[in-house]
């Protein structure tokens, strides 16, 4: 046999051996994937748990409610600002966030149903939105809707008019060293707590882009633009690695 022929023979043997190895590998892979599919107690426990988390997560994401666009960070220490019948209460220096379609206040009309309350949002000399709360509301949290304010308004004023015949009180903080409201044309040291609400009802799922945007605020420049996707990636990594590790421990070494 020539050297070339010998070489060719070796090659054939190698090919045959490789083929055998490949078949053996194939069998091993098949056996491994069969093992992977066997529903062991740990796999069942993990699968049921992950499914439960996914269902719970989805249920939360689909929950619909009116969502907040911001607040004026004022503590609600009780119904401390009384607005007499026909009187106007104006709160200057407000930051009204963009995408606001209502204000949520803490209001009391005593034991009787509350009167109509008008609201007007002003920016400079302009009124940019108006709305009202119909008579018949009860003491507690009230939401007064108005036309959507698209862009953030700084230094805005929020004015309320009591259209009833008895006093209505609003929740907030009185006195407040840094703020004042104008009540019946006179300044009063204090501030009403205002929560700004987005228009309509939204699920958390629909709110995700807004949440991602809020995530990018008030953080270091190093992280703020990718913080939201990074959290998702990090948690998927953590969960994937944890499940893989705990399930590997089931198979004997």
């Amino acid at each position: 046999m020539s050297a070339a022929g010998a070489g060719a023979g070796e090659d054939r043997r190698a090919v045959s051996a490789d083929g055998g190895a490949a078949r053996a590998d194939g069998a091993e892979v098949a056996a491994r994937s069969r093992r992977r599919l066997v529903p062991t107690p740990a796999r069942v426990a993990a699968a049921v748990g992950v499914l439960a988390i996914a269902i719970a997560g989805l249920a939360v994401l689909l929950q619909s409610a009116q969502r907040r666009s911001g607040t004026n960070l004022t503590a609600n220490t009780g119904f401390v600002i009384g607005v007499a019948a026909g009187q106007q209460l104006c709160e200057p220096g407000e930051l009204v966030p963009g995408d606001t379609g209502a204000v949520r206040l803490s209001a009391s009309s005593g034991a009787t149903p509350g009167p109509r309350i008008d609201v007007a949002i002003g920016a400079g000399a302009r009124t940019i939105a108006t709305g009202h709360l119909a008579a018949g509301w009860h003491t507690g949290t009230v939401t007064i809707p108005f036309r959507r304010i698209a862009a953030t308004q700084q230094n805005a004023s929020v004015c309320l008019v009591n259209r009833g015949t008895s006093t209505v009180s609003f929740g907030g903080s009185v006195p407040d060293a840094n703020f004042y409201v104008v009540l019946g044309g006179k300044p009063l040291s204090g501030r009403m707590r205002i929560e700004y609400m987005r228009p309509g009802r939204e699920s958390w799922l629909a709110l995700l882009p807004t949440l991602a945007h809020r995530f990018s605020l008030a953080k270091g420049d190093l992280v703020r633009h990718w913080a939201a996707p990074a959290v998702l990636v990090l948690m998927l990594l953590a969960i994937g690695l944890a499940l893989r590790t705990i399930l590997r421990e089931e198979s004997p070494r």
């Binding site: 062991t40 107690p41 740990a42 796999r43 069942v44 426990a45 993990a46 049921v48 748990g49 992950v50 439960a52 988390i53 719970a56 997560g57 939360v60 969502r67 907040r68 666009s69 911001g70 607040t71 960070l73 503590a75 609600n76 930051l95 966030p97 963009g98 953030t152 700084q154 958390w204 709110l207 949440l211 809020r214 995530f215 605020l217 008030a218 953080k219 270091g220 420049d221 190093l222 992280v223 913080a227 990074a230 959290v231 990090l234 948690m235 990594l237 953590a238 969960i239 690695l241 944890a242 499940l243 893989r244 590790t245 705990i246 399930l247 590997r248 421990e249 089931e250 004997p252 070494r253």
Partner: protein, 510 residues
Amino acid sequence: MSAASAARPLGTANAGSAERVTDGVRRALRRVPRAAWVCMLVALANGLAWSLITPPFQVPDENAHYAYVQQVAERGTLPRQLPPGSGLSQREDRTIDALLTFGIVGHRENPAPETEAQQLVIDQIGREDLPAKGSGDALSATPNPPLYYALEAIPYKLVPSGKVLDKLSAMRCLSALMGALTVLLVFMFLRELLPGTPWAWPAGALLVAFQPLFGFMSGGVNNDDLLYLAAAGLLWALARAFRRGLTPLGGALIGGLLAAGLVTKFTMLGLIPAAALAVLLLLRRAWRVDRRRALLGAAWAAGLAGAPVLVYVLLNRFVWSRSALPGGVGSVPGAGGRSFNVHEEFTHVWQLFLPHLWMNAQFHYSPFWETWFKGFVGRFGWLDYDFPAWVYEVAKYVSLLVCALALGELVKSRDALRRRLGELSVYVLALLGVCVAIGVQSYRFLVANGGVFEQARYLLPLLALYGAVIALAVRFGGRRWGPAIGAALVVLAIGHDLFAQAITIARYYG
């Protein structure tokens, strides 16, 4: 000594020993199981996620801890107690104001800044070249020892930007790394504790990795993070010594980790009795067999534990113009009509964890349930938001089940337990020691300030023991059902952690 070795240059000898040490460390790292590294990675990912979720300065006292690091990094000195109102650096104070921090802290109804207009104010502060050097005060962090802050000064310095928020982000990454190392050490502790049950180790370590309060703390700047690491390391070193005997290396690990904890936070004092008992038991065990090596190990433990603390005390006294032990120990002057009373202190410490029995009730609520249990299950921010009430009820039953399984395993293994009673007593003493250390501080705070000091995070130095309870519960199921119990608990912990992150997102961004 041969002539050749005597003539060998000192540099070569040093290089040789450095090489030996490096080789030793490399070999030791190679012996760490792959699963341990993966658990560490899981904790790192979770801690980093928490660091991105929690807004700046919403981790308890983060403003004070940042100020301490700033003092170390900018002036190279430690902070001093100054009259109230002395202020932090203008750069930090103005950033905290722009973030509306104290309008948010303690007010769960107030979210983090949500508008571009607020972001513009924050950006403006970042552009102003405000002084980074403060008055020298670091508020509640001032009395703390410096190790954590010295380490955090590294990312502080490495970040080229002068902005507080950029530096804080980098510092939070180091804290997350400390959390990850803590989980690695918990894994190693479980490996030494239950050497015959490798499938229980990852379950214990992963439950620690996904513990929401631990994740939350790992994502913030707080010296507790290094305390957790040192405490988990110490418990690992003790378990290692019980399994392998007290050697010079084992003693050095015990002493070194104890010292690292002591120069991080004085809560570590609570672990000294456990470490001392362990060394005594190990000495007794080795007395007839290998007394010399064990004595050398004990000497290393004592020397390495004591020396850094002594240096710290001397530096405080003579270099840093602080009292020898800032914050002090022992009695404190009372405020608001209170005065320090040893009997009252004892009953306070007791009632902080146990029923008041025949003693005068000092709490109008159950600290065990309200502070420790509910806090451990989850209370976040500056303790201003938590889970819905039903979560704590469910957690109660899950915890009872896990404890019952762990107890069942102890009963099942009672023969082995009898042989390791000394080791068990060390861990029980570690638990008692930490509780007493917290209780004493709680009472001192109550007398001096009339306020509540205790928070569930102070128990996290015992995370390794928490991991052990989980591992025992998993072991109870045996080789067939144990992994299923482990998988169920890990998935439950993942769900718990995700829920905690969801309420955090809703709290600050919703």
